[in-house]
């Protein structure tokens, strides 16, 4: 909301400086967006008289002037303007002045060998208009030597404030003045409403839509001349960014900006009979003043005559019935539209306007008569004509609203002590009527404060005007002792996996929660697709963390990264049966490029393998609290890891056959290709940990299970088995470990070999088994018994001990 200082002072009687006013605006909740004085740049320009004008010795079209700007010594100026002549009073910029139009600073110069100091200016050079036919000509009696900005009355700062959606009253200059006055920065001048002589019956207007347009007031003015608005009105409108159009249009804009009261003026010559406020017919069309055609539906309120729609009620007028230079008879509409309906209609039509902004916040329902009187007075004063009586159709919602308020609530909620007397004074200055005879008070809310409905609103007013910065700072009550731990098990889990992943050399990325359809497809598509995405790339809520990680990995490789280790901790989005969201905490990993770059010791660069990503997965599952000993490797099946994995180089880790805690392995080459990876990039390793599948224990006792290291030393024995090449090593290890659970504490594959000496279709797997004696050292026969049990258990899987 923009206004000028002089405009404000028409409503506010104050001696406060500009800075005091702008600081106060921010302090009372009308945040200053900017303040600009158009005079600042024009200040060095002076009213000056041409005291001599002669020919230029070297150029026919140039004149040589002597200019008196009141500084004592006349300036010699070379000038090319056709109207430059002796005796002309114009606007002079001395050397050193910045000229805003052409954007340069004047320097003494030689023009065709003759020295020239400063410049006589045109309106365009001062950015005051398009006129560039000659230099500015001021009246003969303009005082030479004074600042042109002062002379022309341009010294009027433009103030811009942002008005929050609750402040209907501050959508007009008068409301802002009232707030400032309430804050003690001056007094609100009374609003003068001129008495307009009226004759003749009012126009035929009615409302058939009591919900959307409860009140439709109107009068006519016949015999008007619609010329240009007066300079003062044009200047104010221009200063706040409104383009002057014609007196009638400018009057409605001015009253709207000045008093927050939107109006509409119809050219009666274009109307067929009376006007009615009614619901639009489904599919009815209207060509609005912005040149666009809108298709309306039955929820919207329009103003129409018997032939067509002339106005999208409270939002924008129609092109057809707008006033023109030739207009002689007008109908002025001053209506009240329902704020909720205006908001809905505006949203549906995606149409904003100054009128909508005001009606949807709510205009003062008690100001229809005065608003119409003020507008009519301007019309008759500026355009002539005769006003009719007012037709009042319907009734605006003017019922008084009261709030029961205990002044102690200010301190109880606002935390600041303001005396009852001061509270009452503030409220009364804002227009509230306060009956403080007994507590609680009965406060009547002014008609222009639709936003105030309860006692907290009253506190807000008192605090805002008192100064929110005056609220003291009071510590929150603190529980005795050291702060208690607050993190939940899930939060602790997330912190642990994140920090471990980073410690293991992975870099944490934060990727978009939404991905493209194309990216989601290999992962089974998404359950949620946005109706209004900002682009096709950010449309589907991700069913997996991998698409984002893969795209990021690819971008890094394209930027020349040799090795990419990325992870993300975030959610995957699914739909629950009741249509709400099911968001699953997940950790995703991608390893791409080289695992090790070429090196003076190890030679060639080494690629990542699926076992590398398995190492990350196991370490992170352990940190996440998964029971490592109970985890089982599962080859690909219906429960995972899914078609985006290499079918022979991927697996899932599960607790039981259904509970998949992690999927990992080599990315399927087709998926890699879909994400833009090239063969030169090598295989890409990926993994996802489904953190929400891990049962979390609440914080328990700090006490550990009792433990003492065994006194007897463990021994190791090696076993080499010949197995079927298809046998899963994990199955053999599990069988060996199970052979004697009392003594076998570990079994580890240390060699896996196929080739010379190993028959076709077979594999040699060598295991180191750790045996822990319990009460006494192993005797030879005990060791033999354990070894036999191991060989027997392995034999059940078809494994033969190698000789």
């Amino acid at each position: 909301m923009k206004f000028t200082l002089s405009w404000l002072k028409e409503h506010l009687d104050t001696d406060a400086s500009l800075t005091e006013i702008t600081d106060r605006l921010t302090a009372i909740g009308l945040e200053l967006e900017g303040v600009e004085n158009p005079a600042d740049v024009l200040r060095p320009f002076k009213v000056a008289r041409v005291i001599e004008a002669g020919p230029h010795p070297n150029a026919d079209k140039l004149r040589l002037l002597k200019v008196d700007d009141g500084s004592g010594t006349p300036w010699q100026v070379v000038c090319g303007a056709p109207n430059a002549r002796q005796g002309l009073v114009g606007v002079f910029g001395p050397p050193g002045t910045y000229v805003p139009g052409p954007a340069f600073t004047l320097k003494p110069a030689k023009i065709r060998d003759v020295e020239s100091f400063g410049m006589m200016c045109s309106y365009r050079e001062l950015e005051m208009g398009e006129d560039h036919d000659g230099i500015i000509e001021l009246p003969e009696d303009a005082p030479v030597g004074t600042s042109f900005a002062d002379y022309a009355g341009l010294d009027d700062p433009v103030i811009d404030v942002s008005v929050t959606p609750n402040k209907q009253d501050c959508m007009g200059v008068r409301g802002i003045a009232r707030d400032l006055a309430a804050s003690g920065i001056g007094t609100l001048r009374p609003l003068v409403i001129a008495d307009v002589p009226r004759s003749g019956a009012g126009p035929d207007v009615r409302t058939d839509d009591a919900d959307g347009c409860p009140a439709f007031y109107g009068c006519t003015v016949k015999g008007v001349t619609n010329g240009a608005a007066p300079d003062w009105m044009q200047a104010r409108l221009k200063a706040v960014g409104q383009k002057p159009i014609s007196a009638l249009v400018d009057i409605t804009n001015y009253v709207m900006l000045d008093l927050g009261r939107p109006l509409h003026v119809y050219d009666m010559a274009t109307l067929s009979g009376g006007l009615v406020a009614r619901k639009a017919k489904e599919g009815e069309e209207v060509l609005a003043l912005n040149g666009k055609t809108y298709t309306l539906d039955a929820s919207m309120t329009v103003i129409a005559d018997s032939a067509q729609v002339h106005d999208i009620g409270g939002i924008m007028g129609g092109e057809h019935s707008g006033v023109a230079e030739t207009t002689t008879d007008v109908l002025i509409e001053c209506a009240y539209f329902d704020p909720e309906q205006i908001a809905r209609t505006g949203q549906k039509l995606m149409l904003t306007s100054d009128a909508r902004q005001r009606f949807e916040r709510g205009v003062d329902p008690a100001f229809l008569d005065d608003g119409l009187a003020i507008a009519t007075a301007y019309v008759t004063q500026l355009c002539g004509g005769t006003a009719s009586e007012i037709t009042r159709a319907g009734t605006p919602p003017v019922e008084a609203r009261t709030v029961s308020y205990d002044p102690a609530y200010c301190a109880a909620l606002g935390g600041i002590d303001v005396s009852a007397t001061d509270q009452q004074a503030i409220l009364e200055r804002l227009g509230f009527a306060v009956d403080s005879g007994e507590t609680p008070w009965t406060i009547t809310v002014p008609s222009w404060r639709r936003d105030v409905s309860g006692k907290a609103d009253i506190v807000e007013e008192v605090v805002r005007i008192t100064g929110i910065d005056a609220i003291p700072s009071t510590p929150l009550p603190r529980l005795p002792g050291v702060a208690k731990p607050t993190a939940s098990p899930a939060q602790l889990q997330e912190r642990r996996v994140r920090r471990l992943a980073a410690a293991r050399g992975l870099n944490e990325a934060v990727n978009w929660s939404f991905i493209s359809d194309k990216e989601a497809a290999p992962f089974g598509g998404g359950d949620w697709t946005l109706a209004n995405p900002i682009s096709e790339d950010l449309k589907v809520m991700r069913p997996s963390l991998l698409p984002g990680l893969l795209s990021a990995a690819k971008r890094n490789l394209d930027r020349g990264a040799g090795s990419v280790r990325l992870f993300e901790v975030g959610r995957r989005y699914f739909k629950a049966e009741d249509g709400t969201s099911l968001e699953r905490a997940t950790l995703g990993i991608v390893l791409a490029g080289d695992k090790l770059s070429r090196d003076w010791r190890s030679g060639k660069a080494q690629a990542f393998t699926a076992h590398d990503v398995k190492a990350e997965v196991l370490a992170l599952l352990d940190a996440a609290g998964a029971p490592a000993a109970k985890l089982m490797d599962f080859a690909p099946d219906a429960a995972g890891p899914g078609g985006h994995y290499h079918p022979g180089q991927a697996a899932t880790l599960r607790l039981g056959p259904k509970n998949v805690l992690a999927a990992y392995g080599t990315l399927h080459p087709s998926t890699a290709k879909a994400f833009g990876f090239k063969p030169v990039h090598g295989a890409v390793m990926v993994a996802e940990l489904f953190l929400d599948g891990i049962a979390l224990k609440p914080r328990g006792s700090a006490m550990r299970e009792a433990y003492a290291p065994p006194a007897l030393q463990a021994v190791t024995r090696d076993f080499a088995f010949l197995v079927d090449a298809k046998l899963a090593a994990g199955d053999l290890v599990r069988a060996v470990k199970g052979a004697d659970k009392k003594h076998i504490t570990d079994a580890r594959v240390f060699d896996s070999f196929a080739g010379q000496g190993v028959p076709e279709g077979k594999l040699s797997l060598a295991l180191e088994v750790t045996l822990q004696p319990v009460d006494k050292s192993f005797a030879d026969d005990e060791l033999k018994a354990i070894a036999d049990a191991i060989v027997k258990a392995a034999g059940k899987l078809g494994a033969e001990l190698r000789g």
Partner: protein
């Protein structure tokens, strides 16, 4: 043998030892001190001597044995260490060659700042709460006192889904973390002190806005909580987070549908080396105010929507952008880079796994 002979013998052996190699040394030892050795032989003669003779010869012969024994040992040590030194010299390697590099992992600044916030607010008694990012219109707007026609609802640039939940409510991406306030108040009896960090979404995209960003919400519901507590909490938090004591806040009246009274909070900054730094004198020549927070007393209607009596329970709420907090504290200037996954950026602006924010170590890493 005369005394002089023994001495001569000793001198001869010492001379031989001094120039012997390891093999020669063993030969000398055998020749002199072995079972058949010369000095061993002399020692054997002592038994047959008279007491006077033995008294004279004994020390001489024993002396010779000790001298030769220790000379051999010393020479052996010297020779062995020469051999070792030669071997070590041959084993020299170039330690300026690089060691095996371990990959440098990192924690994203957003996660780091969330941990910092959790740490600071834990000290003030706040727990961390979470809620869904795909929300219903009821939680995101209606319960927060933004009915369907509320102008502020249109200002939120909401991402919508075509779907509706079983209750027939529109489904959308939460535009702020405020729905977590509602969920917390409905699930938990006051007193409540929580922060709720998380992802939020608005259909906005330019240099300073991304369609996904992070916010943190704060909520206190208790008896007797006022705006004065809100002010203290924000001052305490901002000073702790930016780790400076010369930070000043300015509260400005504003409007949010879910708080009343509402205040926007500006923090004072100064320009140092061309960058805005939080702290210092905002009214000085290099100073200014910038908005960092929205806040207010929880609107009575919101408390009622959650099934609580606003005359019994009241409190405050605040919200602010986590990405922005990170940028202001750590000096990043492009928000979009947060979500690009560029390893160079992550390694530069990210944090070591060991930089766990703690109150004793300072919440900033």
């Amino acid at each position: 043998m005369t005394v002089a002979d023994v001495e001569q013998l000793q001198q001869d052996y010492l001379a031989q030892i001094a120039s012997a190699d390891l093999a020669g040394l063993e030969e000398i030892r055998i020749a002199a001190l072995g079972k058949q050795g010369v000095i061993s032989g002399l020692l054997k003669t002592l038994g047959a001597m008279s007491a006077e003779e033995r008294q004279e010869q004994g020390p001489r012969i024993n002396g010779a044995r000790e001298a030769v024994t220790s000379a051999i040992a010393a020479r052996k040590d010297a020779l062995e260490s020469e051999v070792l030194n030669a071997r070590l010299a041959a084993e020299a390697i170039d330690l300026t060659l690089p060691a095996a590099a371990s990959p440098q992992g990192s924690v994203h600044p957003v996660a780091q700042v969330m941990d910092e916030l959790a740490e600071i607010f834990a000290d003030l008694g706040f727990a961390v709460a979470t809620g869904p990012e795909i929300e219903s219109g009821w939680y995101n707007f209606t319960a927060l006192n933004m009915p369907e026609t509320h102008p502020a609802r249109a200002m939120h640039d909401t991402f919508y889904f075509p779907d509706r939940n079983a209750a027939g409510e529109e489904m959308l991406l939460r535009t702020h973390t405020s729905p977590v306030q509602i969920r917390t108040m409905m699930a938990q009896k006051p007193p409540i002190r929580i922060i709720a960090p998380g992802r939020t979404y608005r259909s906005d995209s330019d240099a300073t806005h991304t369609p996904m960003f992070h916010q943190v919400e704060g909520l206190v519901i208790d008896k007797g909580i006022t705006m004065a507590h809100l002010k203290w909490t924000l001052e305490t938090f901002v000073k702790a987070f930016f780790e400076r004591d010369d930070i000043v806040l300015r509260l400005r009246p504003s409007y949010f549908p879910f708080t009343e009274p509402s205040a926007e909070v500006d923090v004072g900054f100064t320009v140092e080396k061309g960058k805005r730094v939080i702290g210092g004198d905002p009214t000085g020549p290099n100073g200014g105010w910038m908005e960092i927070l929205g806040s207010g007393m929880v609107n009575r209607k919101v408390i009622e929507h959650c099934g609580l009596d606003p005359d019994e329970w009241q409190g405050f709420a605040f919200g602010c952008g986590i990405d922005r907090l990170a940028m202001l504290k750590y000096g990043m200037d492009d928000l979009r880079a947060f979500f690009d996954g560029d390893l160079r950026w992550l390694k530069h602006y990210g944090f070591s796994s060991l930089d766990v924010p703690t109150l004793s170590g300072g919440v900033g890493a």
